[in-house]
């Protein structure tokens, strides 16, 4: 019981009501998290006091802005267990994953010089993804495959919504990239990362981890996990919208050709040609989301103060309550593991005969906010034989009472459409 955190009062939005005075039960953290007051304050203070162009001005405010911006990089790097220079700011995880895929594309188009040759793809090469991926970690690889002639293959999903690691032999000597999720935003299943990394290393393939769902809910040490690249988003981990990050192993970032080009990532520019800065600047073209990185800094400070182990134990408890509760609603099928082991408090389910839109609507009417649809993972839904589902997902601020309200609400849904 001392697993349980009581933090909701730190989050201003959570005290609001919806649909005519009903207390809000926010179970859509898997889509985007709410932000603690400390994050909102950090952004505001930056904007009111230190806002200026970074890495540019010689004036005091520009120096302060630069220091705040780089301090944020340092804090986020430490939070995920990597070095300062291995964190590249992006607008979201999607951009981070596109950055890596375009690095391969640009190398294949012979940009980036000889050190980029290790990223060149040919039609004999293969890219491996998984059937559980969010579209953000699938479509960029489809595009890369289409443009380079490389072939896309994938690790299938098991009946209980995990990656089928019996089928790791889809990773072969032809595989150049293995892109996979740390935790599914549909099934909540946590991936056995070391096993996939081991297999990828055997064949010399690069690994790209989608850490969007894990970074906010589990202790994540990317160096320890041994992946080559990883992506995550600020808005899912108590931070602002508009900021995300790419992790890349130092040596790889140094060899990867740039993606977006423009100001602040160049060394010498003539009309004819341009030389580029070392990473991470090489990948940060134009004015960055400075205030948002400062907000994300406050977010990881908040998470660290709570403690990621404590947080993950709290959510583990909530996952158990959710799974038990949903199992008690007649007919409802969970898409994903039905036990809480190696699983996030993200529960997607199907109510036979009732469309998720209708499930969500009746819950919303009771003040319960869940997500409905395919959650940007159509192939995963197809694997379960459904087109859409309803998903409840918890966060650091979620309470057992809210899970209870949700389960009650779900019973009412079934009754309404009976």
């Amino acid at each position: 019981m001392n697993d349980l955190l009581e933090l909701a009062s730190d989050f201003p939005l959570l005290s609001r009501t919806v649909r005519g005075g009903k207390p809000l039960v926010y179970l859509d953290t898997g889509a985007t998290s709410q932000k603690p007051e400390s994050v909102l304050n950090a952004e505001r203070t930056f904007n009111q006091t230190h806002n200026a162009a970074v890495h540019r001005g010689a004036h005091q405010i520009a120096e302060e802005a630069t220091e705040a911006f780089e301090a944020a990089r340092s804090a986020v790097a430490e939070f995920v267990g990597v070095s300062f220079g291995e964190i590249v700011w992006t607008k979201n995880a999607t951009e981070a994953l596109n950055l890596v895929a375009h690095g391969f594309l640009n190398a294949t188009l012979e940009r980036g010089g000889s050190e980029a040759s290790r990223f060149r793809l040919t039609s004999g090469d293969e890219i491996v993804v998984t059937e559980l991926e969010h579209h953000a970690n699938l479509v960029p690889w489809q595009e890369l495959a289409a443009k380079t002639g490389a072939k896309l293959r994938w690790i299938p999903v098991t009946e209980d919504g995990r990656l089928d690691l019996e089928q790791l032999d889809v990773i072969t000597e032809r595989t150049r990239v293995v892109a996979f999720t740390h935790a599914s935003n549909v099934t909540g299943a946590i991936t056995d990362v070391p096993r996939i990394v081991e297999r990828a290393r055997e064949v010399g393939a690069f690994t790209v981890l989608d850490a969007c769902q894990s970074a906010a809910h589990l202790p994540v040490d990317l160096h320890e996990l041994g992946v080559d690249f990883a992506a995550f988003s600020g808005h899912k981990m108590l931070g602002p919208t508009g900021v995300g990050a790419l992790y890349g192993r130092q040596e790889l970032l140094e060899a990867l050709p740039p993606f977006l080009t423009g100001g602040s990532m160049v060394e010498v520019v003539t009309m004819e040609e341009t030389t580029f800065m070392p990473p991470p600047q090489r990948f940060e073209a134009g004015t960055q989301m400075v205030a948002q990185t400062v907000g994300l800094h406050a977010a990881v400070d908040y998470l660290s103060a709570v403690g990621m182990r404590q947080l993950s134990a709290h959510e583990d408890h909530l996952a158990r309550l959710m799974l038990e509760g949903v199992a008690g609603v007649p007919g409802v099928r969970v898409l994903g593991p039905t036990s809480a082991e190696d699983r996030l408090a993200v529960v997607a389910f199907d109510v036979p005969g009732v469309h998720p839109h209708d499930v969500g609507q009746i819950l919303d009417d009771q003040g319960i906010a869940v997500r409905v649809g395919h959650h940007c993972a159509q192939p995963a839904h197809r694997a379960f034989g459904v087109h859409a589902s309803t998903r409840a997902s918890a966060g650091v601020y979620t309470t057992p009472a809210e899970i209870e309200a949700f389960i009650d609400g779900l019973h009412r849904v079934v009754k309404f459409f009976a």
Binding site: P356, H381, H387, A388, F416
Partner: protein
């Protein structure tokens, strides 16, 4: 919730009038709601400026299915201009944020007036209109195909 899920909507979402396929439609449109993957296909045949045959198939929520089913009942066999006019009025209703239109229009809409409450939920607007978007699109196509008097395609229900 009763205001949104009127009985006629719940009934039509189950009975689904007009579900089927035409063997050789003059116009056909496939529409998808990218948020949820809901889809529908509407097929039409046109004769003497009337919507002589109509069929639809699809999957989706009670709102979208009921909308298609009621659309079938309202437009099948009707003059084209009436079908189009009805579509305009229905769109106006759904974009009216839950308020009724004037009594005359509400009367024209007949059972479709049950959708008034949908307008209060902006996320559901697309559900109510998906079928009507498909109808409009299918009719544009049909008008292109049928310059002279066409064959009447048969329904395979």
């Amino acid at each position: 919730m009763q205001q949104l899920y009127q009985q006629v909507i719940l009934d039509h979402s189950k009975s689904r009038s007009g579900e089927g396929e035409l063997s050789s439609p003059h116009g056909e449109s496939f529409q998808v709601n990218p948020t949820c993957g809901d889809e529908c296909t509407v097929q039409v045949a046109v004769e003497d400026n009337r919507l002589s045959h109509f069929a639809w198939s699809g999957r989706g929520c009670s709102i979208s299915q009921a909308s298609l089913s009621l659309m079938y009942e309202m437009v099948d066999g009707e003059p084209l201009d009436r079908a189009e006019h009805l579509g305009e009025t229905f769109r106006e209703l759904i974009h009216n944020r839950g308020q009724e239109l004037n009594p005359e229009k509400m009367e024209q809409l007949e059972d479709l007036s049950a959708f008034t409450g949908v307008g209060r939920y902006s996320a559901r607007v697309k559900c109510a209109l998906l079928g009507w978007m498909a109808l409009r699109d299918a009719l544009v196509q049909a008008q292109r195909t049928t310059s002279g008097p066409g064959q009447a395609p048969e329904t395979q229900a």
